[in-house]
Every structure is written in structure tokens, then in C-alpha cells.
């Protein structure tokens, strides 16, 4: 490198400095309606972000005091962005939060309690209400649900009963069905559990099976230990059943993230979320969405999807609350359900949703959500619990000793609880 002109480097610094300052974002406008910032995780999800924009435009036009402005961030980096903004004291006014993460944010002081009208609060289904410490911090416009997906023709061919939420398969029935399907030789595997999806899918999808056995991720009475619930006899029974699925070849240990095998016909059943329902229904005209089996403590599925909250840094919480109240109107709940394919936040909206009319196969998801859904533990420790459970479930799937894997998980969760003074 040769600097042929004197002071080139000084000039570079000066020009760069000017360029940096010129390209900085301008300050907020000082006149007109008060600007209220909103962050959402929906970047890259065209249907959802379009709807949030439409909703916000409608809200802004409905009054003249506030103008809500949207910043959309990609889901995978959203939580880190919130943590960064909190450290910088730069949180937005309105923000969405994944249901099980909400207690951690409320505990950290990121969120302020909501003041939703009690009648509206009462009308919301359980999975869309985010309570921590008996206080409502977040509400969702929709919820997701999971189901066993299969085909009527498969069940009838092998003489397998169609279960209902009132009479779900027992654990023995489910295992027998898997054995029958596997031994038929018609499928590579009887079931696709989606183990190729990592992250929150593991606790969201698989911990309800643990809870159906009678175990849990943490003692929900005290929220101070996982001892006895994540490594007790019921949890061990779950672990052995879970490991057996793979050992007996009912489920492949090498499932990929694309989850195309049910559509290809190489698996007989799939355990999946409502977001995958349309693809399945479009592929097979005899598709069935079924409740999960009952392993003794009742059939369970996970609950709570993305919800809206108000940050504690919000200077206009009344504006943020007004936006949330506006969004909770039936009209918008129906729109969100129709266009994102999720379960509306109220039964009233579900009755008007295109997807959940009488006779629709998707109604099973509403039924599953209403009767089987269990909120993941509302504790600030949940992000740690989720990661620990994911590791334990993956280890057991890959052949680890069940008792040892669950004991290690309990130790790790309890260590985190103790290190944080039990999040008091």
C-alpha cells in the first residue's frame, strides 16, 4: 500500500466521520401525533406482517393522538434484539413476546402489566393469556395447537380406532397402533415427531407427553425445584417410552427439518402444529387431525404462541394499551385466524373464522387447544428449562441412560434456580 497524496488517511477519517453522521437516523418528529414504537418478530412472514401493518394503519386512522410505527425483526434474532435494546434502555413501547418467554421478560423488568377490560380478558382462551405472578403481562391474538396427523384410510386399513378428546387413545392403544403400522412394512417409520426441528419445538411439542405421564418440567407449586417431577418415576416412564419410540424404529432418529415424509407416504402419522395443517389437508382428502394420547395423567398439548405486551420503558402506556385493545376486537381476531391459519383468541371469533366452521377438519385443533392445552411453566427460569429439556430429550433419543439424563437435567435446572435466588 502506498499513500501517494499527503494526508490521505486524515481525509479518509474526516470523510468517514461525515458519512457516518450524515447516515445516522434522524431524530423523532416533534409535531403531530405522539410516535409510539412497536416491534414484532414477524419480519419475513409476509402474511402476518401485512396484517399487523393493516391493523396499525386502522388504529392510527381511528384516532389522532398517537401514531404507532412498526419495526419488524426476524424471529430467530428477535429475543437477542430485545435483550440488546433493554441493555441500552431503548425498548419499544409495544412488543410481541413468545408466550413461555414472557415471565423471564416480566421478571427482568422489560414488561409492564396490562390493563385489559375484565370482560375481554374473560373471553380470551387460556393459551393467549400470559400471566406471571398472577398478573397479566401479555395477550395473544391467536394461539397455535398440535395434533397427530394421519389419514382415515390408514387407520381403517389397520383397524385402528379414531380417537376423540373425550376418549383419546390410551398409551397402550397408541403404542399398539405404532407397532401395527411399523410391522406392516408399508412405512419406513410409523410416526414422524419432527425431531429434526430444534429449539422451542422440543419443550413445546414433547414436554406435554412427559406431562401426560404425570411428570413435568418443574414443580409448579413452588417453582423452586425440578426434583421429583423431571426425574421421578413418571418422568422415567416417559423417558423410557420416548427412547423406545426410536429403539423400536417407530420414529427415525434422523428426521430432517423439511418434514415431507408424511406427504410422501413414508410415515403413517405425523405429530405437527396447526401451521402444517393446510399442507396436509391439501395433500390428502381423508386427512385426520387427532388428539394426543393419554398416558395416565390426561392427554396434553402445548399452549401459548406469540403475544403482545407493553414495555416498562413505554412513555405512553395508555397508547400501547389502546393499540392492544383495538387489536383484540373480533374483526381482527378473525382476520388473523383466516390469514395466518391459527386459532383465534376467543370462541366468538373462532365461530366466525373461515377455518373453523362446523365440519372442518381443522376444528380438532380448536378442540385440542380448548381441552388439552397446558401452558408451559410460567417462570423466569423457563428459557433455561427449555434448553435443558431439549438436551435431555435429544440425549435420551440418542440412547442415553434415562435416569442419568433426567437427573442431570434436574441438577442443571436447580442450579440455575439457586443461582438466581429462585427468581424471587
Amino acid at each position: 500500500m502506498k499513500f501517494s497524496k499527503p494526508g490521505a488517511s486524515v481525509a479518509l477519517v474526516a470523510v468517514a466521520s461525515l458519512a457516518l453522521s450524515a447516515c445516522s437516523s434522524p431524530g423523532a418528529s416533534s409535531s403531530g401525533p405522539v410516535d409510539v414504537s412497536l416491534w414484532t418478530h414477524a419480519a419475513g412472514n409476509p402474511a402476518e406482517i401485512a396484517l399487523i401493518e393493516e391493523l396499525t394503519t386502522a388504529f392510527n386512522e381511528s384516532q389522532s393522538e398517537y401514531a404507532v410505527s412498526i419495526e419488524d425483526l426476524p424471529q430467530a434474532s428477535y429475543n437477542d434484539a430485545i435483550v440488546g435494546a433493554a441493555a441500552a434502555g431503548d425498548l419499544p413501547c409495544i412488543l410481541d413476546v413468545d408466550g413461555p418467554v414472557m415471565p423471564a421478560w416480566a421478571y427482568a423488568g422489560y414488561l409492564a402489566p396490562l390493563t385489559v377490560d375484565s370482560a375481554v380478558e374473560e373471553s380470551l382462551i387460556g393459551g393467549v393469556k400470559g400471566y406471571y405472578d398472577d398478573t397479566l403481562y401479555s395477550v395473544g391474538l391467536y394461539d397455535a395447537a398440535t395434533a397427530i396427523v394421519t389419514r382415515e384410510s390408514i387407520l381403517s386399513e389397520f383397524g385402528i380406532r379414531v380417537p376423540t378428546v373425550d376418549e383419546p387413545w390410551t398409551g397402550e392403544e397408541f403404542d399398539a397402533a405404532l407397532a401395527t403400522l411399523q410391522s406392516s412394512g408399508e412405512f419406513e417409520n410409523a410416526l414422524d415427531m419432527g425431531t429434526g426441528w430444534t429449539g422451542e419445538w422440543y419443550p413445546y411439542a414433547f414436554s406435554p407427553f412427559l406431562q401426560s405421564f404425570g411428570g413435568d418440567l418443574i414443580d409448579r407449586d413452588s417453582f423452586e425445584t425440578a426434583e421429583g417431577v423431571l426425574n421421578g418415576p413418571e418422568a422415567i416412564a416417559w423417558g423410557e417410552w420416548w427412547q423406545g419410540l426410536f429403539e423400536q424404529g417407530y420414529v427415525s432418529t434422523k428426521e430432517s427439518a423439511d418434514r415431507e415424509r408424511f406427504a410422501e407416504g413414508t410415515v403413517a402419522m405425523q405429530f405437527n402444529g396447526i401451521w402444517a395443517a393446510k399442507t396436509a389437508a391439501d395433500t390428502f382428502d381423508d386427512v385426520l387431525f387427532l388428539p394426543t394420547p393419554d398416558f395416565g395423567a390426561g392427554a396434553k398439548i402445548g399452549a401459548a404462541s406469540w403475544q403482545w405486551g407493553i414495555s416498562s420503558a413505554c412513555e405512553n402506556p395508555e397508547a400501547a394499551q389502546a393499540w392492544i385493545d383495538f387489536a383484540l376486537q373480533k374483526e381482527w381476531l378473525v382476520r388473523f385466524s383466516n390469514e395466518t391459519g391459527n386459532i383465534p383468541a376467543t370462541a366468538e371469533a373462532a365461530a366466525e373464522s373461515d377455518l373453523f366452521q362446523p365440519g372442518s377438519p381443522y376444528l380438532q385443533f380448536v378442540e385440542n387447544s380448548a381441552t388439552l392445552a397446558l401452558i408451559r411453566p410460567a417462570t423466569p427460569a423457563y428459557p433455561v428449562i427449555a434448553k435443558v429439556f431439549e438436551k435431555a430429550a435429544a440425549d435420551i433419543m440418542n440412547g442415553a441412560d434415562v435416569q442419568r439424563a433426567l437427573d442431570a437435567a434436574v441438577d442443571e435446572i436447580n442450579a440455575d434456580l439457586a443461582a438466581n435466588n429462585y427468581y424471587e
Binding site: 479518509l12 468517514a16 445516522s24 426476524p74 434484539a81 441500552a88
Partner: protein, 299 residues
């Protein structure tokens, strides 16, 4: 008697074959992921998965089109993200070369008390992972004074959040670059400085006209090693930049990881963001290889 020359002949014949065969294998090993990425970017998702178990994965077979690229441009402001990454990378590299070479120069060519301790402390900072200091750094930059120029004129503000500056300034001074410059400058004979000073040259003139013109290889190395992390920056921009029009290219990749992942679009996006780096490498291939070989640094 006749065997020896034949053996030598065999060696002469076989050595290039082995050389080229190993070279071809290495080429395949390193290029196949990129070929797969580029080829898959032209296929619909079901074709990608259909081809996965055969060599077709590396061939443009089936329903080949530019639909994934159209989808990418419709879904994400790719051009803006590319410009943002190019802008921040260019400034970090440009400013970094000036600042770090000056620091390296001061630490090795100018004699002052404590310079070894300072260099040691700088090197010690290399053992601290970025993730460890990310949150304190966010806290710090959010309170630094800054200025902007808009329609109302010069504005002063607290904090660099949501600016290009926050993506550039913290990475200009780079301990590893300083170390590289310092090491390289040590190898240039001091007599050159002394001779220039006898002729009345200042330190600045020595730096500018004696030392830097001899530092081509280390400049190239420092430029590469500074460019790549900034081009690939992910965690820092996530935490400090929430405005979409300031977002860099790597954060944009996350737009595609929704519940129903469209892998063809991901392949198209990664092809788009890999191309500039690939073109840069091909353009400066000789300088890169020479600089890395001469400095003994792995990229």
C-alpha cells in the same frame, strides 16, 4: 541397472497425477457445498429434497428457474442489506487500516516507556470472547454522545443505537490487527527510520513514506481479517440496529426461517450474499495467498 531410471520415470509420471488427483478431491470437497447452494437456488423445494440423495443435487435438474431469486427480492430488501454491509465493511477496513497501523507503528517504531506492557495488554484482550462483552458494549454505545445531520441541521444525541456508526466505530480499533502490524513493523530495519530522521523526516513522514509502503502484505492480511467478521456480523447488529434500512446482510438471512421454511429462497439468498466475497477473493487471490503465507496467519 534398468530399473532405476524406470522408477524415476514412473515417479515423474505418477507424481503429477497424484498431485492433480489430490487437488481435484480437495477442490470438490471445498466447492461442492457452494455448487449445491447455487444449483439449489434454482430449484423448487420439493426438487431440492428429491435430488438430495443423488448427484442431481449438484446439477441443475428438473424445474429450474429464477423464482427463488424473485421470491427473495420480494420478501427482503436485499439490495439495501448488501449496500449496508458493503458500506460498513469498507469503512471498518479503511479506518481500521489507518488506526491499527498507526497503533502498530507507535508500539514498535517509536520508543516510549511502557510500550511492551501496552502491547501485552492489547494482546491479552484477544482472549476475551466477543459474546462476553457484547452486553456491556451495548450499554456503553447506548450512552456515547453522537451527532447527526438532518433537515434541521446538526443534531447532538445520546447513544449510537440504530446508526451506521454503531456498526463501524467499535470495530475500527482491532487488537489483532495492531498485533499484526506491530509484528510486521518489527521486521523492517530501524536504520531506515534513522536515516530518514537524519534527513529531517518527522514520525508521520517515516510512517507514511518509509514504513507503510513496505507493509503491503500485512495490509492485505489485516484487510481480509477485518473484512470477513464485519461482512459476517450478526450478533452485534441484532442488538444495536433495529431499523430495517440499516440492517446488514447476515441478519436478513433470518427472515427466511419461518415455520414453513422455503429452502430454495434460503439458497438463493445465501448465493447472493456469498457472491461479493467470492468475487473479491477471485480478484485478489494472489495478494490474499501471498499475504497469508507471508504472515503465517490462518483465515
Amino acid at each position: 541397472m534398468t530399473l532405476r531410471p524406470l522408477g524415476a520415470l514412473h515417479r515423474r509420471l505418477w507424481l503429477p497425477v497424484v498431485y492433480w488427483a489430490v487437488g481435484a478431491l480437495l477442490l470438490m470437497a471445498f466447492s461442492f457445498p457452494m455448487v449445491f447452494m447455487a444449483v439449489s437456488s434454482l430449484k423448487p423445494d420439493d426438487q431440492i429434497f428429491l435430488d438430495l440423495k443423488t448427484m442431481n443435487a449438484f446439477l441443475p435438474t428438473g424445474d429450474v428457474s429464477l423464482d427463488n431469486y424473485v421470491g427473495v427480492f420480494a420478501r427482503v430488501p436485499v439490495a439495501q442489506f448488501l449496500l449496508n454491509s458493503a458500506f460498513t465493511s469498507a469503512l471498518v477496513v479503511g479506518l481500521g487500516l489507518v488506526v491499527n497501523s498507526l497503533a502498530g507503528f507507535a508500539l514498535t517504531r517509536v520508543r516510549w516507556r511502557g510500550q511492551t506492557v501496552v502491547l501485552g495488554l492489547l494482546i491479552a484482550t484477544l482472549i476475551v470472547p466477543f459474546e462476553t462483552i457484547a452486553i456491556p458494549m451495548v450499554f456503553l454505545v447506548s450512552r456515547l454522545p453522537w451527532f447527526s445531520i438532518d433537515s434541521a441541521g446538526l443534531q447532538f444525541q445520546e447513544g449510537l443505537m440504530n446508526t451506521y456508526a454503531v456498526q463501524i466505530l467499535p470495530f475500527v480499533a482491532n487488537a489483532f490487527s495492531i498485533f499484526l502490524f506491530a509484528q510486521y513493523f518489527k521486521s523492517i530495519p530501524r536504520e531506515l527510520d534513522e536515516a530518514a530522521m537524519v534527513d529531517g523526516a518527522s514520525w508521520w513522514r517515516v510512517y507514511r513514506t518509509i514504513v507503510m509502503p513496505l507493509a503491503g502484505p500485512v495490509v492485505a492480511t489485516a484487510a481480509i481479517l477485518t473484512f470477513l467478521p464485519v461482512w459476517n456480523a450478526y450478533l452485534w447488529p441484532i442488538m444495536t440496529v433495529q431499523k430495517e434500512d440499516l440492517r446488514p446482510i447476515q441478519v436478513g438471512l433470518q427472515y427466511f426461517f419461518q415455520e414453513n421454511v422455503e429452502w430454495g429462497q434460503i439458497m438463493a439468498y445465501t448465493t447472493i450474499i456469498t457472491l461479493p466475497v467470492l468475487v473479491m477473493f477471485l480478484l485478489f487471490q494472489r495478494a490474499f495467498v501471498a499475504s497469508i503465507a507471508s504472515s503465517g496467519v490462518k483465515g
